[in-house]
């Protein structure tokens, strides 16, 4: 176990390094967005001031020096947006509560719903329930969050007044927090439920034909016991690993559309704004956050994996 953790940590560091290098080269070098010094100095600055900033920020230094400085700034909390002058880390920190609330709530909803739908579709494979669920998941997969979000806001929010129109309320007010998040959770979940329930359905249909399921029946277990203990437990591995990665992506600001539609000022919303301003420093910081989330949740998923399937520990 200790060796597993150490090896895993080393892999995490190596991955973060590689990702930071690639994003730095992509965002700061390949996509310079003009002279950063001029951006910082503003429109009315004279060449002397621009030069001063170039030297102060080290934009004339070799690229590897600039890389180290940028990374040190991002991880040290001293990175500033060239366009908006805000402290990038503080801005991300301000967005995290909304984003994590969105991610965790939606994650639980989409995981449980797809386990329910996927199992139902599998045990009713080929029959009416299965067909209805197939159509529903197709709709879910092809439903863009901005469209579904707009419909929810208009009908459930504006017309019926069932949900608030937009915004995020801090968890210190739990009732309001929940009330404001219900619609975003549903909107974000719909896409994932479509995909996950399809994957689970096909995994279950594969597992049903396994010899150990036949053994379980031959033991005299009830259909429910066979389904829960032998079929479902063994079918959950693929979607659990997928879940970890998708959740990480949402935490890293991946739910750009959902956050924007509902004006949840989270990391995704910040990502959306930085893209539209070509705010490369902020973007790079968000990418690093996503990478960190993916790597950490990936490791957690792997541990959970080993718990679900004891054979994995040996590998």
């Amino acid at each position: 176990m200790a060796r597993f953790v150490v090896r895993r940590l080393l892999v995490m560091v190596a991955m973060l390094f590689a990702i930071s290098l690639v994003t730095f080269l992509l965002f700061i070098v390949a996509l310079p967005n003009g002279n950063p010094a001029a951006l910082i100095a503003g429109r009315l600055a004279n060449p002397a001031e621009v030069h001063l900033i170039t030297v102060r920020y080290g934009f004339n230094k070799p690229i590897w020096v600039q890389y180290i400085k940028t990374i040190a700034n991002i991880f040290g909390g001293t990175a500033y947006s060239y366009q908006s002058y805000f402290n990038v880390d503080a801005e991300i920190e301000a967005g995290l509560p909304a984003t994590i609330s969105l991610a965790l709530g939606a994650g639980v909803i989409w995981l449980l719903t797809s386990i329910l739908f996927g199992t139902l579709a599998a045990i009713r494979a080929g029959r009416y329930t299965d067909r209805v669920l197939t159509v529903l998941s197709m709709i879910g997969v092809s439903m863009p969050p901005f469209f579904f979000g707009a419909i929810l806001i208009y009908y459930a929010g504006y017309k019926l007044g069932l949900i608030p129109l937009s915004g995020y309320v801090n968890i210190t007010n739990p009732a309001q927090w929940l009330w404001h998040l219900i619609a975003p959770w549903i909107t974000l979940s719909i896409l994932f439920v479509g995909i996950y329930s399809r994957i689970l359905r096909s995994t279950i249909l594969d597992t049903v034909n396994e010899d150990f399921v036949r053994t379980a029946k031959a033991k005299g277990l009830s259909q429910g016991q066979v389904l829960r203990r032998h079929i479902l437990r063994n079918s959950l591995v693929p979607i659990i690993s997928l879940w970890g990665l998708d959740l990480a992506q949402v935490i890293g600001g991946g739910a750009i559309l959902t956050e924007s539609v509902y004006s949840l000022h989270g990391v995704g919303y910040l990502a959306y704004q930085s893209v539209s301003h070509l705010d490369t420093v902020t973007l790079m910081s968000i990418v690093m956050l996503t990478a960190l989330a993916v790597v950490v949740l990936g490791a957690l998923t792997e541990i959970f994996y080993a718990f679900l399937d004891p054979r994995i520990r040996l590998q």
Binding site: R214, A216, K219, G220, L221, D309
Partner: protein, 350 residues
């Protein structure tokens, strides 16, 4: 042989499956009985319906595309028409089953002990987990798994194939079944392990008096352990008799072919092992009359009529076969190159 009231009586069992290509008649009118303490082997090649027969008795072939007809009585219970709930109580308790591939027959994500305990608790409501665990240890010791109380906590992948099959046997034993169905229990194992597992089955029969149905294509296994043999071909029984009758006085050409194609220590090793030429018929479209006719070198005009499975040896009502040939002709034709076979080893082109 079988006592007045056999443990299991199967009458005219028919199993067919609706597939996209048509109706597959996997089992086509099979009847046999098993007495307590008796080992009945069902022999045949892949697709002969032997496994389907075995699994149908457990209710494992039921499904919306399966049609099951006939009768199968175990004591007072009619197995084929039993409700799913009744079957649940029978499976693993009155009838236990051991499967072919011990590598995949145990669930990889649960500890061995838990899988044995699961079966015990499925049939003995109210038994505590620790009591069931103790029983599991005893069972594992009984089937020769060393250090049982430790190995209880192992996962299937930490066991060898032979050890896993012992676990399967331990599980099958857990509720003292009256009938044990072993579906190719030794096929996936090394020969030395095979012998050990067969020994285990023999001990089990002696200790519990359970009847055993052994499904196999391995005649060496049959010779080792069976009392009676049922030879199946293309969904039907083609010959049935005691082990001595089958090995020393086989009456159906298919049985000759099976006997002729096994490796024997007294056979000239320079010759190729004779095989039965051709393939078994598709179960979608079986030949008219005798199903073995297209592959039988001794087929003649009458074979297009269905031969019945009846006793054809005078004064022996228990040795049945399904072949039109005269008894004397059979006894003459089956001897090829000093041995029983379908074709002479010399005629096999190498």
């Amino acid at each position: 042989m079988s006592a007045a009231a056999p443990l299991l009586q199967v009458d005219d069992l028919r199993v067919s499956f609706a597939t996209e290509d048509g109706l597959v008649r996997a089992v086509d009118g099979v009847s046999f009985s098993v007495a307590a303490g008796e080992v009945v082997a069902i022999v045949g090649e892949s697709g002969s319906g032997k496994s389907v027969t075995a699994m149908t008795l457990m209710g494992l072939t039921r499904g919306h595309n399966a049609r099951i007809e006939g009768r199968a009585r175990l004591g007072d219970t009619e197995l084929l028409s039993a409700s799913e709930h009744e079957l649940q109580r029978i499976r693993g308790a009155s009838i236990a089953m051991i499967f072919q591939d011990p590598m995949s027959s145990l669930n990889p994500v649960y500890r061995i002990g838990d899988q044995i305990v699961e079966q015990i608790r499925a049939h003995e409501r109210g038994i505590s987990k620790s009591a069931a665990m103790e029983r599991a240890v005893e069972l594992m010791e009984r089937v020769g798994i060393p250090r049982s109380s430790e190995r209880l906590r192992s996962y299937p992948h930490e066991f060898s194939g032979g050890m896993r099959q012992r676990v399967m046997i331990a599980m099958a034993l857990s509720c003292s079944p009256k009938l044990l169905i072993a579906d190719e229990p030794t096929t996936a194992l090394d020969v030395t392990i095979q012998a050990q597992i067969l020994e285990e089955l023999r001990t089990l029969r002696e200790q519990t008096g359970a009847g055993i149905i052994l499904v196999t294509h391995d005649l060496a296994v049959v010779a080792d352990i069976a009392d009676r043999v049922i030879v199946m071909y293309s969904g039907r029984v083609v010959e049935e008799g005691t082990i001595d009758e089958l090995f020393y006085d086989p009456l159906h050409p298919y049985t000759w072919g099976l006997l002729g194609s096994i490796t024997r220590i007294d056979r000239d090793r320079s010759q190729r092992l004779p095989a039965i030429s051709g393939l078994p018929p598709s179960l979608l479209n079986t030949p008219k009359g005798c199903h073995f006719r297209p592959r039988c070198p001794h087929a003649f005009g009458r074979c297009t009529d269905d031969p019945q499975l009846i006793a054809r040896v005078p004064d022996n009502a228990e040795h049945l076969d399904r072949c039109w040939l005269e008894l004397d002709r059979k006894r003459a034709l089956r001897v090829v190159g000093d041995q029983i076979g379908l074709v002479s080893p010399e005629t096999v082109v190498s």
